[in-house]
Structures are given as C-alpha cells and as structure tokens.
C-alpha cells in the first residue's frame, strides 16, 4: 500500500502523535530538569485514563457507547483495594485475574441487555453506571485498603533503564495482546463493520449481535484493567475516584481520532490522547496557574481539535473539486 494513502487514512492518529510531541516539548521547555521521575509520574498517572480510553474505543468503534466505564473501574479499584490488602503478591495477582474476568462479564452484560432488549445502549450503560457506582460504595464506603508493594511496582518500577517505567510496558503488552490479534483477524473487521453500517455488515455475514456483545465485553475488560491501574497509581481504593473516567475517556477517544459515529479510529490514538490530557494539568501547575484552569484548557483543546478534524476533510474535498 502506498505511503501517501496510509498517511492520509491515519492523518488524525498522526496528528495526535504530533500534538503529544508538541506538548512534551513545551513541558520540557518550562521544566528543564525533566527526567525519569517525571516520566514515571506521567505514565503512572496516565495509565488509568489510557485503559479507560481503550475500553471506550472498543465500544465506540463498534458503533455503541458505554457510560459505565468509570463505574466499572471504580468497582475493580475497590475490589482490588479490599481483597489485596495484607496479602502477598501471588494472591494479589489471583485477585487481579478474577477482577478482569468479572469486568469482562460486566461489560458483556451491558452488551447483552442492549442487544436483547433493544433499549438504546446509552440508556442501558447509564443505568448500569449507577448500579456499579452503588456497588463500589457498598464494597468500600470510604477510601482505604491497599495492595502489596510488588503489585504497585508493576506500574512504578523501572524496566532496564529508569526512563522506561514498568507501567508503560504493562499498558503496551496488555493492549497489544488483546488488540493486535483481533485487528488482524476477521473479528476485528466485524467490529469495524458493525460500527460503520450494521445492515451491510449483516449482509456480509457478520453476526451483528454477537460482535456487539464482544465489543462491550472488551470494554469491560479494559475498564477492569483501568481500575487495577488506578489501584497501582494511587495505592488505595476509592469508591468515587473511578466515576470521572467515563467522560475523560470519551474526551480521550475523540481527541485520539475515534469517530463517535462508529467504525473509525484505532486504539493508539486514544492512548496517546490520554497522556496529553494527563500532561496538560501538570504543566499548568508547573506554570503556577490555578489547576482548575486545566479543565478549561482541556475542554477548549478538544473543541479545537475536533473542529480542525472536521475542517480537514472539507478542505480535501474542495481541493479534489478544484482539480
């Protein structure tokens, strides 16, 4: 395939990378002593959002939306904090495995309800977000709990050089192991197909209902990963910390080039966008600005990027017509 077309089709993702590089350069310019410690805190701080963004991307690419990502993260987070406390590393890993299975099932439940009852997914997942939000509070009414240090080191420890935190590796491996085989196989095509045009996908032989359930199940799996990452990043469980991630995840996928109309985008864009959205408030603190201003900047950035993204195809079309 020719390079120009590849670049054109992935223009948005490339743009997200460029934006990340720009923000990074800006960060280093206002913080000349930027070093391994800052890289680690960026990765550890950005991991929960990165997982949440991947979770939302799986659902939105398949033409749905999941408003319960944050609440599922909260449940995973408090389960980890409550059942890992005062146990050894092996036990913590076992608990993690069970939480991931549970998250996958919770996601699949979202999908099953939406497919079987034909209730719009936005309603189903909004309702489920209240259910899981309540469950999180029942499991752990106040912030607390903990996990063995080795478990926390899965994110904060260093790999070979101090410049590469374990967390980055963990993120890449977990997402890669699930996403790459999917993307190369027929199931991944089916996921993009149902997001693009369900009738055409059905006629092409895609099992539409089954694929939709799968996309929500993957959303649940990555939301559970996000909850565990939140555990690693904060060291405690908090029943309310997860909830903000639903909207942040949607921001990240929009910024990362996933179309909310479905069928378009990849997971690398949202991951990079998640780190951009983590960097900006940190930079504002460095500049001595009120950190609350960070939300204003984030909001403005998303609107600007989406506007620019909408403008690009328009300009392209005009040029084609001119030719």
């Amino acid at each position: 395939m020719n390079v120009a077309r590849l670049a054109r089709r992935n223009a948005w993702t490339l743009g997200t990378y460029a934006l990340f590089v720009a923000v990074m350069i800006f960060t280093i310019s206002i913080h000349p002593s930027y070093g391994p410690f800052e890289v680690e805190s960026l990765v550890v701080g950005g991991m929960p959002l990165a997982f949440a963004a991947v979770a939302e991307a799986c659902v939105v690419i398949g033409g749905g939306i999941d408003l319960s990502i944050g609440a599922m993260m909260a449940v995973a987070n408090v389960l980890a904090a409550r059942y890992m406390q005062n146990h050894d590393f092996q036990y913590a890993l076992l608990v993690s495995g069970l939480i991931l299975v549970g998250g996958t099932l919770a996601g699949a439940l979202n999908g099953l309800i939406a497919v079987r009852t034909r209730v719009p997914d936005i309603v189903v997942t909004l309702a489920m977000s209240f259910v899981w939000g309540g469950v999180a509070l029942l499991i752990l009414p106040q912030p607390g709990g903990g996990a063995p240090d080795q478990f926390l080191a899965l994110a904060s420890g260093e790999f070979l050089t101090p410049w590469i935190p374990n967390g980055l590796l963990l993120l890449i491996v977990v997402v890669g192991v699930i996403w790459i085989p999917l993307r190369l196989g027929r199931t991944g095509l089916a996921l993009y197909a149902i997001g693009s045009d369900r009738t055409a996908a059905f006629r092409r032989g895609v099992r539409v209902g089954w694929t939709r359930v799968l996309s929500y199940a993957m959303g649940g799996f990555f939301a559970a990963c996000g909850g565990l990452a939140l555990m690693m990043s904060t060291g405690i469980g908090s029943p309310l910390a997860g909830t903000i991630y639903t909207l942040s995840a949607i921001s990240a996928i929009v910024l990362g080039g996933v179309s909310l109309a479905g069928g378009r985008g990849r997971v690398t864009g949202p991951i990079v966008a998640a780190f951009i959205l983590t960097l900006i408030p940190a930079d504002l603190i460095l500049m001595g600005t009120d950190p609350n201003f960070g939300q204003v900047v984030q909001g403005a950035l998303i609107v600007l990027v989406v506007m620019a993204g909408g403008l690009a195809p328009l300009l392209q079309r005009r040029r084609v017509r001119a030719v």
């Binding site: 089709r9 027929r186 095509l189 993009y192 693009s196 055409a200 059905f202 006629r203 092409r204």
Partner: protein, 503 residues
C-alpha cells in the same frame, strides 16, 4: 430449459412492517436455467420479496421451497450457503472498510472472486480503496462479482441496472445469459421493459404485495405485463373521467406562471424544464429513483441545485434554505409526515408553527389571532380533532391534513406535494384531492408527485412524466390514463405518445 423442474418456489409469503403491509402474498416459481423477471409498480413488494427470500428479513407467514424442500434462512449468509445469492438494491458493502476487507468479511476467497472481476471488467479497481470512496455503479458490480464467486444456483439482481450506464448494464446481462446457459437461474428486478423483454424468459408480476400473474415472455409480451400491473385500472378510468368533467369549469383563473424551472440539474436530475401555472394542479409521475426527490428538494430549498434556474413569478430565485423557499411562497408537503410534524405537540401548535413570525407582536405570540387562523384552517380541511393534544395520535390521513393546514394558515402560492396520499384511506384521499382542486381554483399552483398513477386523472390538470432525470412526456389529464403513464414511466415513450395522439 426443463419445463417441469422447479428450483425455487415461494407460497403466500407475507411481510408487514408495523401497520404497513409490504408483501401480502408473494408467490414466485423459478425453474432451473431461466432468467425470471420480477415486475410491479413502486411499492408492489418486489424488494421485500427478495429480502424475505434471502434471509435478510424474516417473513410473517408463507413458505419457501428449494428443490421441493421447505427452507428458511436466518441470514443472507445461510441463503448463500444454500445457493441463493442476492445483489440488493441498496449497496451492501461496508463503507468504512476497503473492498478487500469486505470480501474477507464474507469469507469469499480472493481467488474465487478474481475471475469474476475480470468478467465484469473490474481489474482496474484498487481493492485497497475504501468502499465509500468508490462510485455507486462500481460498487454494484463489485457486489455482483462477490455474489458470483459463490457460484449460486439462483442469482437475484434487485434493480442493479437502475444505477448503471448502458455499457455496464451490458456486462451484467452478459453474466446473466452465461448463468442461464450453465443451467443456473437468475431473478431480475427491473423497471425497464425493453431489457426485460430482451433478456428474460418469464415474468412474475406483483401488485399491492400480491402476485397477480406469471407471463411467458416468449409467447406474449409487454402488453400483458402492463395489463397485469394495471389490474383494476379500467374501473378507475371510468371514475376519473367523471372527475375530469366535473371540474373543468373551476379552472377559470388567469393563467400565468407561478414557477418556472429551466435546465435544472441535481443528483439524478439531468436536465429538467417545465412551467407550473397558477390555478392548475400539475401531476408528476415517475418510477422509483428517477430524480423526483431531487426535484422536490431543490424546489423546497432543501438543496442547492448543481445547475439550471428556478424562476418564481418570472424572477430567478436561489434558495439556500427552506426558509427562502417558504418566503417565496413555495411550501412542501412531504410523503413522510413524521418529517413535517412535531408528533408530540398539539394540532394547534403544529399548524401555527410556520406562521409564528407573522403572529408575533413585540416578541409575544398573539394567541387570539393564532387561534382564529388555526380554527379556519381546521374547518376548511375538516380535520378530525378529537385527538388533538398530540399529533402522533391522529390517523395518517388526518396527520397529512395537518401538514397541509399548516401552509393554509401561513399562506402560500405554490404547494409542492410529494406523494401526499401514501398509506391514506380512500375517503381522506378524496378530501385531499378536493382541497388541492380548491387551492388551484383560488389561484394557487400545486405540483403533485404521486406514485399512484390513477391520482393524475383524479386530481390534476396536466401530467409530466420523469424518466432517467428528464421530462419524457407531457400530456393533459384526460389523456393521462394509467396505461399511458405506466408505459411512459417505463421509458416506452413511443407507445405512450401514440396512445396519447390516438385519444
């Protein structure tokens, strides 16, 4: 062709969507080694029959027999495995995937498709291109190539040729003939009578969702098909002649052009010119997809035309927005009432909405004036207002009257009606015809597109026939019998004009 053998047979297939009966009783028998045409007017149920047959949608009742054994397909995929492959009217390739990815999705090996791409002269198409970036005719041929790759015993082509230029159509026919010589069968849906006559062995005719006859094209011809499609036409002609006689004197308004269209181009419209006079109801007849929707969109300001002129009261006008068209006196009554109305709101609010600008005094709505004008519009159209708190609770006919009443209360010079009587009972239809006649008598102009051809004689003064994006016939209402219109609408212009000249 083996006369006695039967490949596929359907019995009493029916399908309803909500209250709409799309297919009442579909019977179709296909023999091995024949090209079988499926014919019928718009909405006769041809496409629904194909969808039910290939598992795209489940029938409400009836049975499908393949090789004498009853089958039911859960999806187009299972139909394909059993040897039935269809190319649907609307392209069924996923737009955001490449062509190659679409082929992979269906599980068709590339090696099986290649020879068919060559046969259809598609070698030059880049299979790594996104589907949405390719033109529709190419996509139809690609869809066909991938259906052929399954070597189906029955190939179904649902109006594939409607979007194709002549040279591409010939490629499709070449494949269909080859299919026949190899002892396999083809079902072809087409509105073009000459191509059906040239290509097909037999034709099944549907009318109002029911199979009304099977015609052997070798021994009899298009006359028989046309008479089957017409059905009760003879009876309705008698009725309409009375109607024409009745209303002749009412059109005593001074004739001057309300709207003039010159060389209009947009979408499927290639080059359309006509004049709509004040005091007349001008009928427009066309089969599905001849550009009528584009014409109405341009006239109502929903779309800017690619070329040509629209003159209102002899002045050229450019509509950028429906607001401009309404301001110039051109108002639209669409077929889909849901598009025109606010279903959750009351009859009064719906009627008053377009005139809200005229009712304001210092920013407040003048309620008394509004009530007065709404009341008079309701009375004139005799709208049944027992369920007036929410428009969606009204019957379809009364909803359509509300869309007309809106414009009546607001005021207009030209009423654009796009198939306004679709799915409405006969009594309400007659009331609507009466209202349209009244509008014309009082000096307004009405453009009426209808998919029910007898309506032309019931409601219009003059008729235009649109075919392939051009006006192909213009005739006074008393010559516009259903038989003449149906020929002209199928592109049989000569037969149509002969008839018109004779009468």
């Amino acid at each position: 062709m083996n006369e006695s053998a039967v490949l596929l047979e359907t019995r009493n297939l029916s399908k309803t969507y909500g209250a709409v009966v799309a297919l009442r009783s579909g019977d179709l028998t296909v023999r091995p080694g024949e090209i079988h045409a499926l014919m019928g007017a718009n909405g006769a149920g041809k496409s629904t029959l194909v969808k039910v047959l290939t598992g795209d949608t489940a029938p409400n009742s009836g049975s499908i027999l393949l090789d004498g054994k009853e089958v039911r397909f859960a999806s187009p995929t299972s139909a394909r495995r059993a040897g039935l492959a269809s190319v649907y009217q609307d392209v069924s390739l996923v737009p955001l995937l490449t062509v190659a990815q679409n082929m992979r999705l269906t599980g068709t090996p590339m090696a099986a498709i290649r020879p068919w791409l060559k046969e259809l002269e598609l070698e030059h198409v880049d299979l790594n291109e996104y589907v949405r970036d390719l033109p529709t005719p190419t996509l139809h041929l690609l869809d066909l190539a991938q259906a052929l790759a399954w070597l189906p015993r029955l190939l179904i082509l649902d109006e594939v040729t409607a979007t194709l230029p002549a040279d591409l159509t010939e490629r499709v026919f070449r494949v269909a003939r080859r299919w026949r010589t190899e002892g396999r069968s083809v079902v072809l849906i087409s509105h073009r009578m000459p191509e059906v006559k040239a290509l097909c062995d037999r034709a099944t005719v549907l009318r109002d969702g029911t199979t009304v006859g099977v015609v052997d094209l070798a021994s009899s011809g298009q006359e028989e098909i046309v008479s089957l499609m017409l059905g009760q036409a003879a009876a309705s002609v008698v009725v309409s002649e009375g109607a024409v006689a009745d209303r002749e004197p009412t059109s005593s308004v001074e004739r001057r052009p309300a709207v003039e269209v010159r060389g209009l181009r947009s979408g499927l419209l290639k080059d359309v010119s006509f004049t709509l006079q004040r005091g007349e109801v001008l009928g427009l007849v066309a089969l599905e997809g001849q550009g009528q929707a584009d014409l109405f969109e341009c006239l109502s300001g929903n779309r800017t035309p690619d070329g040509g002129e629209i003159l209102v009261e002899d002045r050229p006008r450019k509509f950028r927005h429906p607001h401009d068209a309404i301001g110039a006196g051109l108002v639209l009554v669409p077929a889909d009432r849901a598009l025109a109305l606010l279903p959750q709101r009351s009859v009064r609010e719906n009627i008053a909405l377009p005139m809200v600008n005229q009712l304001r005094s210092w920013g407040l709505i003048n309620a008394r004036n509004e009530r007065k004008r709404v009341r008079s519009a309701i009375d004139r159209l005799s709208i049944d207002t027992r369920a007036q708190s929410r428009v969606k609770q009204l019957s379809g006919g009364n909803q359509q009257k509300v869309t007309i009443a809106r414009w009546l209360a607001t005021g207009f010079t030209t009423l654009l009606c796009f198939d306004p009587t679709r799915g409405i009972d006969i009594r309400t239809k007659e009331q609507i015809y009466g209202v349209l006649r009244e509008f014309a008598a009082s000096g307004s102009a009405v453009l009426l597109f209808t998919s029910e051809m007898p309506e032309i004689q019931l409601a219009c003064d003059r008729a235009l026939v649109l075919f392939g994006g051009r006006i192909t016939a213009e005739l006074p209402a008393h010559d516009a019998t259903e038989a003449v219109l149906i020929r002209a609408a199928h592109g049989l212009a000569r037969a149509g004009s002969d008839q018109a000249a004779a009468s």
